[in-house]
Symmetry: C2
Subunit: 418 residues, 2 copies
């Protein structure tokens, strides 16, 4: 079949399935999720066998150990995926919730009710667990999903998607509920991005070039999941011990993720006192420091940061450090160089905590806590499909609720407009 026809067929099947899914009971959806979880456990060996093909290919291609590690599906990771589906089954169903309802002077009752988005296209890179998590969350929220993973994980993704499809069939749901685009031809994505008649939302998760390609080519609304250039600002009135613990945690606890800190901002009044010990602790943990002029003066061994450093997501043990004159400079720096993801202030000042919360334009703004908490689970939203870095529709961690929209329902007794 021609590529265009193949993608079109998938999209049409998804739209058909979405109409069915939108009217399904929570019980039926949860049954499907639990069946998926069971089948993953039952077919572990087969999944691992297919995953090995991706690993062998990645090794031949000379991919980094870190990337190969992200690709690898061992027994434990498959169990985690299965457990994640069970957790999703336990979540409250967002669909059908009446957000509010009010009576108009003419007697009309008007309400806003949560409904599924419809068909969601997810375009992602490397980690095969996204295949399972995304399919599970979309199903929970009553959406059909079209998955498009990275080519390096294609065999693993096909294996996982086959298991999910079988479960969907077993519980009597249409196959269009969760489909994987099985070709690695890049043109398949371009075709997909034009199908606004069938697909309601595209969620790209990945690097800058993927995001740009999608936003440039898509006629379908996009929810971007982009990089995290997160900051911790240590105020002049910070508890310096607390600041040290928060900054250390934000950088070192898991440096390869989007909510890790990339830049530490320090008030000039306490920089001399705070930075030497802090920098030493980072160095002991293997963190490379890149500082502005003042930081380099405080510690002459620190490498000078370039203009580019301030907007770089290192995703590793590198940290840029800047000494600022006060909260205004800190906020201006964050709003200019950051990625509007997660940013924290450490302070004992009431008024500056309020100012920071008000003026920092990011998905999550923190006072006296590590940026590492920006996560659906940690926020109490349940599993997440990712972290939106755009303002439209959903901002920050996106759970099942953010995969829905609303419609108005209007209950009358014959009202007509005058």
């Amino acid at each position: 079949m021609e590529l265009r026809e193949e993608v079109l067929k998938i999209a049409k099947q998804a739209k058909e399935a979405a109409q069915k899914l939108a009217n399904l009971s929570s019980t039926a959806k949860n049954e499907a999720l639990l069946r998926m979880a069971e089948n993953l456990e039952a077919r572990k060996d087969e999944i691992q066998e297919k995953n090995r093909r991706d690993i062998i290919f990645a090794e031949k291609k000379g991919l980094s150990r870190a990337l190969i590690d992200r690709l690898t599906l061992n027994e434990k990771r498959i169990t985690q995926m299965s457990d994640s589906l069970k957790e999703i089954a336990k979540l409250e169903d967002p669909v059908g919730r009446i957000e509010s309802m009010w009576r108009r002077p003419n007697g009309l009752l008007i309400g806003r009710i949560r409904v599924p988005l419809g068909v969601i296209g997810i375009i992602y890179e490397s980690r095969p667990n996204v295949t399972v998590d995304a399919a599970g969350l979309c199903l929970k929220a009553g959406n059909a999903v079209i998955l498009r993973g990275g080519s390096e994980a294609i065999n693993s993704n096909i294996a996982l998607s086959d298991v999910l499809s079988e479960a969907i069939e077993e519980v009597g749901l249409p196959p269009g509920c969760a489909q994987l685009i099985k070709t690695t031809d890049r043109k398949a994505v371009e075709e997909m991005l034009k199908l606004d008649e069938y697909i309601d939302v595209i969620i790209p998760r990945g690097g800058e070039s993927l995001i740009q390609m999608v936003t440039k080519n898509s006629t379908i609304p996009v929810i971007k999941h982009y990089k995290g250039v997160c900051h911790v600002y240590v105020d002049e009135e910070a508890d310096l011990k607390m600041a040290e613990e928060i900054a250390f945690n934000a950088k070192v606890q898991r440096p390869g993720v989007c909510n890790a800190m990339e830049t530490l901002l320090v008030n000039e009044k306490i920089a001399d006192k705070f930075l030497p010990k802090m920098i030493q602790r980072f160095k002991d943990a293997g963190v490379e420091i890149r500082g502005d002029e003042i930081t380099c003066r405080i510690d002459p061994n620190v490498k000078k940061a370039t203009e580019e450093d301030w907007s770089t997501e290192y995703l590793g043990l590198i940290l840029s450090v800047k000494v600022v004159s006060g909260i205004d400079e800190a906020i201006a720096h964050i709003n200019r160089y950051g990625s509007h993801h997660s940013d924290a202030i450490v302070t004992k000042s009431y008024s500056r905590s309020r100012k920071f919360l008000q003026e920092v334009d990011s998905a999550a703004v923190y006072v006296n806590a590590s940026t590492r908490f920006t996560d659906g689970g940690e926020f109490g939203l349940g599993a997440e499909i990712g972290i939106s870095t755009q303002k439209l529709h959903a901002r920050g961690p996106m759970g099942a609720g953010e995969l829905t929209t609303t419609k108005f329902i209007v209950l009358g007794e014959g009202q007509v407009r005058q």
Copy 2:
């Protein structure tokens, strides 16, 4: 100045103004709105004089009377625009509202707070009152706005925008708060649609070609305001008198707007009884009927509808009529041919009212009321910027609240992630 630079300058000024607007008190915003309202009243003559140039040009161009009427700014209409700004000033400020706040087991307090979207670009056609309404609503919600009206209203829009800009300056706000793109060069829109670094959302209001051009070229998220192909379905258990009043109101009360009915669906069990009288009443009101086979059999004078009719927004005194076998066919027809705008059932059946509310996939779904109520004011949301026909972010009438987004605020006492 080169076109690209000119648009870029406007966008940069808007972004700067947005940062200021986001932190402005409700009092300050309302003061600006009331000043705008005053100045419009005070400069009526000047506005009308400039409006006359557009009218003369439109007459020369041979535009229809209806279009020229929509263009015309008489004294009454300017007062209406001024009143609308006063109404917007009275609305509750959506910014700063904490939607919800909860405590996590580790003691973190997490809340979702409403914040402005930032910079909003509005691309619209003909009616100059949009210039004032959009500027007012965007300002109320703390957003900077870039307006781009149709070329046929350019002189009126410049006159209105100059009055608004003056008011903004008088109350000490930056000029970037509300700017009009004053060139009629179409390339200005293309330039605007690429400025995702500065503009957060694009709202196009207009016909199919405008919407398609915008969604194809924009790298900025878009909220579409598209056509309304609305339906009324008369169920077998409808109160036929009520059905007649609702259908008549939905078609005739104001046929040129998006929430007017375009297709009447009638259950076959009551078609013989209902349609003859209904069609006669429509004909008496000057409505041309285009019917399916059964309708044409019931009234042989009715013209046969084509396949195209079922998805046409007539915006005038034409109505397509189809007799259906039951609610399933009615819902399938609406979901297939409609524009997911506003659709109504007239019925006395509890179970079919629930089924219709559940299964019709539209921004507003009605039981026993006219579709003409889909409107920010009628819904009780206050003034509206338009009616979104897409699912992402906002669906249905969009008021000031829909021109905001949320951010998470996280209040800790030194929490770090384990």
